[in-house]
Symmetry: C2
Subunit: 191 residues, 2 copies
DNA sequence: GGCGACATACCGAACAGTCGGTATCGAGAA
DNA sequence: TTCTCGATACCGACTGTTCGGTATGTCGCC
């Protein structure tokens, strides 16, 4: 059996409530009630409400980072690697849409040190991504008339924005959408 | 003279604090102190804290809508119109960066009816934008293999994301950046 | 002398976090 | 085998504070 389903139950309830009501509008009382546990249980496993929010980020960041490393580790040609990375990050962002909502909406509610930590980990991801583009530019694949930082931001804006408009119940298919957005990006940056 | 600089002072202080600390973490006491007025003055001009937040949106929405109407009203060819609209919305978004931060971070803190109102006005803007793309598609200018909603979302993701990475103190020039992002978008959707 | 534009003291609810407890269990001494 | 003991996993009533909002007063101007 899992070491404790309590932690999972709490985390799930928290993500659910944070994504629908927002972090500030959600009381810990609501969370523990939704999770079917008590406040004592929650404060046994989490330091604070802030800690709860951070754990949501932690999970997403770890997952995406490990995916990134795996894909880059395959050692495929630059174009293929970049393509796969784009598709993957979009797809996992769709898989974790509520987490994404919480993520982009409530980072600023984290305590200063934890905010820094999140920023640091995100920057790591961005740096690897930027590195791929740089390599592609050296190979003559991608345009160089626009600052690399702008190109990177241009891509992540799509990922970021997903939770603001995409609905899994809508007509858009996850896999298809990931390909379409990736295509839009790759066409735009082509040399 | 303006009907009252008090309203302006309060609004400015509010935007400033909301954008740096977040809506929930900012007390009305902080706002009135920063604005150099008292709570009584604030509640004389605003119904509630919620109302204060809404007024920020109100101003942005009105401004962008009026710009949009003006540009479309010129009656230029589709390609030119779409280009101008893109550049304008990016530039004004940069001009109102703190407002944008507040906007995208805290819409969900608004009361239900006001949230609906904001959504409605934004949809209006999107609809006009989508209409331009549709016209362009009929004229054979833009690709049709990707749902129009995705194309629209793809563009507004850039606008949305601006407040998350752009810094006026950074190396990027406002006008140049607007052109670059617009170019990336227009290249991507070209037929 | 009444009305608009504020000022100030205050209220009540909400809420994060605490703290003194209890239940269950595994290991080791008797 | 039984008894003890420490540790882990909770429980839930309580509290100190924060904060949005209000009630009442004041002051100048038409």
């Amino acid at each position: 059996m899992a070491p404790s389903s309590v932690v999972d139950d709490i985390t799930k309830a928290a993500v659910d409530l944070f994504s629908t009501q927002g972090y500030a509008n959600t009381s810990v009382q609501q969370i523990v009630e939704a999770a079917g546990v008590t406040k004592g249980a929650m404060y046994h496993y989490f330091e604070s409400k802030d800690d709860l929010l951070f754990s949501v980020y932690e999970r997403m960041l770890s997952l995406q980072t490990s995916h990134l490393e795996e894909i880059v580790g395959r050692g495929a040609p630059t174009a293929q690697t970049l393509h796969d990375v784009c598709v993957d990050v979009i797809e996992t962002s769709i898989d974790f849409l509520p987490e994404g909502t919480v993520f982009f909406r409530s980072v600023h509610m984290l305590s200063e040190p934890r905010q820094k930590e999140v920023t640091r980990r995100r920057r790591q991801y961005h740096d690897v991504f930027a590195g791929l583009i740089e390599r592609g530019q050296e190979e003559g694949l991608y345009r160089t008339d626009i600052p690399r930082a702008v190109l990177v931001a241009h891509f992540f804006s799509d990922v970021h924005y997903l939770s603001n408009w995409y609905s899994p119940e809508g007509p858009e298919d996850k896999v298809l959408l990931a390909q379409q957005l990736t295509d839009l990006f790759l066409v735009a940056i082509k040399a």
